[in-house]
């Protein structure tokens, strides 16, 4: 099953498919407004190109994830609902798809963090924090594919709420990581009190949202395993067709 999902994942990176997928939605504008614009702002106070590079490297997996999101929907093509599978088997297939697709983005994030660790210029606290926050953004972003990723419009209160969640995570990333970079590149160290403060923010903001994301996916996997509810929610995209 994993092999097939990986083949599908790789198969999505075909120029024709990419063009087809992004045509007609304003995903690029969304991508620009939630990522590139803040990166430019951070760049203004990152003190040096190296720091800006570090920030960019930490953001890269998130950018990658945002880019592939509309291309890699967690859904089943119609033919899979016609194949002899039980609903439980379809749910497991979707679950594995989600794990693989998020897992690849997380592995890229891990690789980016490993590069920065090898440079030994930044504290392990900064890298750990950046890693955790990136995971949160990737998880929150994974919720967007049926809203912004599919049509580029937000219509229901729930869609606004899901997009709002992503923006909260992005803001958290920009503010906390920029702040620590600013301190560390100024030759100071982040105080213990500040570290406790950041950790508290993680628990207060990220933990409830993480639970929300998990509950979102639990419900979605159930809905998407059934053709009627999946088709109603437009989770099955036509991007896989010729």
């Amino acid at each position: 099953m994993t092999k097939k999902i990986l083949q599908e994942y790789a198969g999505a990176f075909r120029w024709g498919r990419i063009k087809e997928c992004y045509k007609g939605n304003n995903w690029w504008f969304f991508l620009y407004s939630v990522t590139f614009l803040p990166i430019m702002l951070v760049g203004n106070f990152s003190r040096s190109p190296e720091n800006f590079g570090a920030y960019f490297l930490l953001m890269l997996p998130v950018l990658y994830h945002l880019f592939v999101l509309p291309l890699q929907p967690v859904g089943l093509p119609k033919i899979m609902y016609l194949c002899p599978m039980t609903e439980e088997e379809r749910k497991n297939y979707l679950k594995r798809t989600l794990e693989v697709k998020i897992g690849i983005s997380l592995l890229i994030e891990l690789a980016a963090a490993a590069v920065l660790v090898s440079l030994r210029r930044y504290s392990s606290f900064l890298l750990l924090l950046a890693f955790v926050l990136s995971i949160m953004i990737i998880l929150a972003t994974a919720m967007q594919e049926r809203t912004v990723g599919s049509t580029g419009t937000l219509t229901t209160a729930r869609e606004w709420w899901e997009t709002g969640t992503l923006i909260v995570f992005m803001l958290e990333f920009w503010v906390l990581i920029s702040r620590i970079l600013w301190i560390e590149t100024g030759g100071s160290v982040v105080s213990a009190a500040e570290k406790i403060g950041y950790t508290a923010v993680l628990f207060a903001v990220d933990l409830p949202l993480l639970l929300m994301v998990m509950s979102f996916w639990r419900e979605q996997l159930k809905l998407r395993a059934d053709y009627e509810t999946a088709a109603g929610r437009e989770t099955v995209k036509n991007s896989r067709k010729g």
Partner: protein
């Protein structure tokens, strides 16, 4: 083979109401109706894509609630939309989805591909609409189904392949264990091949009969209006006056004797469908 009892399904403003019919093994059922009549909704229910709001549906005595996998194993499907991955080759597509079927038979698939002049290494998106349907048909046959569900495929086939398509369907049902449901706008095709007709109109079942009974039950009468008006009112399904004369579809009984000046013919499915649709829009007498 297939039994539907009082199946109902509401989808937004559309309502498929209390559909009941049976299809025994070894027969071909033609599903007809105008656009929006509910043919695709009914096929989606038969394919287990939709769950009925009420009523029951069984295939070979099995229901989707308990034997979903076994039922889908028995069904081969050709739908009007592109089901396969456009960027993959035909053979790879078939392997990709064929592995879910216990009886997937790749040599048989290759035989059909060659019979339909399709190259297994060609990408699905490079095929024409008719070729895509031929590939779906080959894949549907390649896992040895017992029931073929075909949604309007013939309109996209060239005349030569259409006749081959019908001969394959006849081969498929020849041993008396398999059945076919063929939804089509092209009623002349169904006249040639169908054993049963199910006619839907605006979500309602207007007719579910075997074709021989239909041929015995209906007559198309053409002649002078006043002579047609002499017929018993309850036997007239619909009467239409045109510039060239008056035509009426009537319920025929074996003992019926008609005026010699009336032309009496056995109506085609298309004529039955036409008059029944007209009746639905209001009796004209």
């Amino acid at each position: 083979m297939l039994k539907l009892t009082d199946i109902s399904k509401r989808l937004g403003a559309f309502h498929l109401e209390q559909i009941s019919f049976e299809l025994p093994p070894g027969y071909i059922l033609g599903l007809i109706g105008l656009n929006g009549a509910g043919k695709t909704t009914l096929l989606h229910l038969i394919l287990g894509l939709y769950r009925p709001d009420a009523g029951s549906l069984s295939i070979e005595g099995k229901t989707y609630d308990t034997d979903r996998k076994e039922i889908l194993e028995m069904i081969g499907t050709v739908l009007a939309e592109d089901l396969f991955d456009g960027y993959d080759t035909l053979l790879h597509n078939a392997r990709q989805y064929g592995k879910y079927y216990q009886n997937y038979d790749e040599p048989l698939l290759c035989q059909y591909l060659s019979r339909f002049s399709l190259h297994p290494d060609k990408k699905f998106r490079e095929l024409s609409k008719g070729e895509k349907l031929k590939f779906q048909f080959a894949f549907a046959l390649a896992h040895h189904p017992k029931l073929l569900v075909l949604d309007e495929p013939t309109g996209n086939f060239d005349p030569e392949f259409r006749s081959e398509f019908f001969s394959i369907l006849k081969e498929f049902i020849a041993d008396g264990t398999n059945s076919v449901i063929l939804a089509s706008h092209l009623t002349e095709d169904l006249d040639r091949i169908a054993d049963y007709i199910v006619y839907l109109e605006k979500g309602k079942l207007l007719l579910a009969e075997d074709i021989e009974t239909m041929r015995q039950q209906y007559r198309l009468l053409v002649g002078e209006t006043y002579k047609l008006k002499l017929l018993p009112e309850e036997s007239i399904i619909y009467m239409e006056e045109t510039a060239y004369g008056t035509r009426a579809l009537i319920r025929h009984r074996r003992r019926n004797v008609y005026d010699r000046e009336l032309t009496v013919t056995v109506p085609s499915i298309e004529e039955i469908m036409y008059f029944m649709t007209k009746r639905g829009k209001g009796r004209k007498r």
